[in-house]
Amino acid sequence: MEQLTLAQTIQEITRDHLENHNGLLFGQCVTAVGWVNGSVPDCRNIVELPMTDVAGAGFAVGAALAGRRPIFVLRFQDFFTLNCNQIIHYAAISKELHHQGVPVFVRCIGTDAAGPVHSIMLHNIPMYFPGLKVYAPMTPGEYRETWNDFMNDDIPMFVSEHRSAYQMKEELHDHIEDNADIVLYGISDARTQMLLAAEKLREEGLKVSTVHIMKLKPLDVGRLTDAINKAKAGIVIDNGFPICGAARDIAYQLMVKAPGKKVYALSSEDHVKCFNPAQQNRTPDSVKIIGAVRKVLKGECPHD
């Protein structure tokens, strides 16, 4: 049987939910050109929303309260800045407040080089608030795990997707070495750049561990600390902005769990992501990651 791409996997999961499990899917222009990169099936129970970016999330929350376990699709992550109220202030806190969950599956789709607003990645925002699971799956297997976790719980989930991953078929696995010179932790599309950087660094004779972080919250720090305990230092690489970002937060958590080890954060820069190719401020690429590793191995901070 032919292996499915990530987009095909999402489409298959979604079709099953909508056709066989009374699910609903909400989104704007989701049945238009491309059907969200081929990830939305042509089937029943899809609601094309009007351009109501604040109310739309409320419709999804209402559907969850009515028992439909909706999928709520945001074609760009910046849309979440408009839609987040209902998710973080209502759905997320319902479980702890009332012991009654409001399960909404928020597909929040990121990309690069799409200008100052559509390029932003902000999985750090839902990480900040109690009551949400935040995952960033990049592979078909990870997406199935994400979906199963959603269906086996009753709290909302923020799924940070990245368009660059939709054609992926292969799974990504951790590579942990004893006495590694460095361990690289990758989030979202930074994971592919991390792997490229690691390959080049290994060609130079360095021992490099690579760890994929798919579950941002709750974070399985225990799984992640094994690699840093076997390495001299670590870098967490993310595609969001640096200040109060996911990479810094996770680096801090790792250092707490692995006393004596230094773990740095590498992200996009604290600048607007322009259309101009020279100022797109993209996800750290392999060149940037290699530069950061060299600085760390010299005892310097990678951001200086």
């Binding site: 419709f59 209402g62 309260l65 012991h99």
Partner: protein, 295 residues
């Protein structure tokens, strides 16, 4: 120009005569019980037994009393000020008291308090808000869309100004969802009057969207007829002019109410020859709430 903040605004003078006595007395009973409950809440706040903020419904309870005559298990989405709806739906009063007291035996384990009601037992589906005014309005639209069921949604005049509320009203019309929207218009957002905040009327905006709408003061008998005549095939918005008797949050009083609906209703029932029943209802309510809170 017609004065809108009056007790008789767009009400039917003889509406009570169209309502059976037992129904009218049941509605009055809910009004009285809501008020007696709130008096006990005030006492508990004064005695510092209740220490979390309270959002009292004193003054607006006639609307809930009439509205809940037509709610039989449907989902009800409410605003922060909804004690009257909780009580009038027949939800557990002990759990309400315990919630305000911060006890584990409250409807949400004492965590949610006065403004974040959630009661999903005994055939009741009451879903309160969490803190952003009007957030319950898009939720009601989503719930009706997802379930295909009739849904009730109660919010305030401040909520009506939220962009997502207006978007939701429009979408309810687009989808012809069977939702009864009730705006408890007390003319106040904290203490800022509607006229300072906007130049438009919600009922007119709803009409502009193509939704049937009404605008009137809180005569429970007129409201009863409006609610009874709603065919549940399309959305209806009813903007109800009410008087908030206490502070936005807390038990303080800013001034005299513009009208006292509970007293007007009482006089109407007595004029109808129901004085004995009225007195009995009042005695029973006082005793019930006293027992509930002080035993």
């Amino acid at each position: 120009m017609e004065e809108k903040r009056t007790s008789s605004y767009h009400t039917e003078e003889n509406a009570l005569s169209c309502i059976a006595d037992d129904t009218a007395l049941r509605i009055y009973g809910k009004i009285v019980r809501s008020r007696e409950m709130e008096y006990q809440v005030i006492k508990a706040v004064e005695e510092k037994r209740v220490i979390a903020p309270v959002y009292l419904t004193l003054g607006q309870e006639a609307v809930a009393a009439a509205l809940t005559e037509f709610i039989h298990g449907e989902m009800v989405f409410t605003q922060h000020r909804a004690h009257d709806i909780y009580l009038s739906l027949g939800a557990d009063l002990g759990k309400f008291r315990d919630e305000l007291l911060g006890l584990e035996s409250g409807f949400s384990g004492g965590r949610a308090g006065s403004s974040c009601l959630r009661y999903m037992e005994d055939g009741i589906r009451l879903i309160g808000h969490h803190g952003l005014i009007g957030e319950n309005v898009p939720q009601a639209v989503g719930a009706s869309l997802a379930s295909g069921e009739c849904v009730f949604c109660v919010f305030g005049d401040g909520s009506a100004e939220e962009d997502y509320v207006l978007e939701s009203l429009g979408y309810a019309v687009t989808k012809q969802l069977p939702i009864l929207f009730v705006c408890m218009d007390n003319d106040l957002s904290i203490l800022t009057k509607v006229a300072e905040r906007r130049s438009w009327d919600l009922a007119q905006v709803a009409s502009g969207f193509g939704m049937e709408s009404r605008d009137l003061s809180d005569c429970p008998w007129t409201l009863y007829e409006i609610f009874r005549n709603w065919d549940r095939k399309a959305p209806l918005l009813v903007n109800v002019r009410v008087c908030r008797e206490r502070w936005h949050s807390g038990i303080g009083i800013d001034g005299e109410r513009e009208w006292k609906r509970n007293e007007i209703v009482r006089e109407q029932l007595i004029r109808k020859g129901l004085e004995k029943e009225v007195m009995q209802i009042e005695d029973d309510a006082r005793e019930e709430m006293d027992l509930l809170w002080n035993n």
